[in-house]
Subunit: 207 residues, 2 copies
DNA sequence: GCTTTAATCAAACGTTCGTTCAAATATAAT
DNA sequence: ATTATATTTGAACGAACGTTTGATTAAAGC
């Protein structure tokens, strides 16, 4: 029971901060608002996380642990790279859709002006790229061409993440309902864009 | 002279805020820091912009005015759509490269939890999409397919904008120098990705 | 020269910020 | 039951927040 409540208070802080950071950004949220949302005393934040920035570090790590796993789950050396790419994109869309707040907090809400945060983010991003780069190479891109490699890996996550960040705005611009059917087509479309785009690029590289 | 200095103080505030917002986000910057950077008294911010949020509105408008112009400049009904797409991407990359702080402030630093800001952003985004959508339709996508249309337009800007936001991190992950040569290849690569990707999607739509 | 308007200034308003600390309560181990 | 450890509390710290005010200086119109 004590072990339960301990975890519960800690977890409530984490959940509240994730939700608030995703909506208002790290700097836009105060510790009092986090504490109030989590229904804990303000001091508990420093007690469990050694300060506001400590919460963010855990959020970044939690996201990238899952993010890395999601990418790796889609990659199978015994399957054709096109199928792997579809799996990765499908997994990625599903993951960010079901963990939107975590993803937004760990991607868009980050204060990159804090060196501590920028460094940690860089480490985790490079880790994620390792998985993607191998897959992109199997699709025909030259793995030593850092320009192409850096673009494709970054484009993959930025498109999907930005879609969720601007979803409320897109809802206003177009007249779309973001239901299961939408994301089925969304996954297909992004997959087609990347697979056709990459194989097209690879073909041009031959010339 | 008085007319000069008047504009200069106003412009210095705008420039300082743009630079600071782009680095730390809107909520991460205080009016005192803006005033100090611009070398003006704090009161001048309310005097010229009716408060901190007034600066951001001007930044959003300034960016989207230029952004819209840049897109339209690349579109020419008498040229093939592939060539237009290349021009738009080239213009876009060049524009954001030469106005990185303005773009970051108007895209990534936005506090979308402020309804006032979210609405204004939505209006200007929908305006920009109008131009792109016509071009994408000429490349073969069904203009009534809102899913594909919404994805391609959003993907275009999010890839490029996110590249500049995460440039310092990518510099750490890969070992790239972001010089003229890089952006020449960058423009080619993004163009190839989109043109091949879109035409590939269009071909599949026929089935 | 005098009046009107625009621009700049220092100072203060009341809030909120992140963090700390000692005291109090609850749980675990002995 | 008592000690030790973990959790929670309320209060306070100085600093920074965005905004407003009234006075002061500069410029323009007449």
């Amino acid at each position: 029971m004590s072990e339960m409540q301990k975890k519960e208070a800690r977890q409530r802080i984490l959940d509240a901060a994730t939700s608030l950071f995703s909506k208002k950004g790290y700097a836009g949220v105060g510790v009092r608002e986090i504490a109030k949302t989590a229904d804990v005393n303000i001091s508990m934040i420093s007690y469990y996380f050694q300060g506001k920035v400590g919460i963010l570090k855990e959020i970044i790590d939690a996201f990238h642990d899952a993010y890395h796993r999601v990418i790796m789950d889609g990659i199978d050396e015994h399957k054709p790279p096109e199928e792997c790419m579809r799996s990765v994109i499908r997994n990625l869309v599903h993951f960010i859709r079901t963990h939107t707040e975590l993803a937004m907090a760990a991607i868009h809400a980050l204060p990159l002006d804090i060196p501590e945060i920028a460094e940690r983010k860089a480490e985790r991003v490079s880790e994620a790229f390792e998985g993607i780069n191998g897959l992109v190479a199997r699709l025909g891109l030259d793995p030593h061409d850092v320009v192409q490699m850096s673009i494709v890996g970054q484009a993959l996550i930025s498109i999907i993440a930005t879609h969720f960040r601007l979803r409320s705005i897109q809802e206003h611009v177009f007249d779309i309902e973001f239901d299961d059917a939408f994301y089925e087509r969304y996954t297909e479309t992004i997959s087609a864009l990347f697979i056709d785009g990459i194989t097209g690029m690879a073909a041009e590289n031959q010339n």
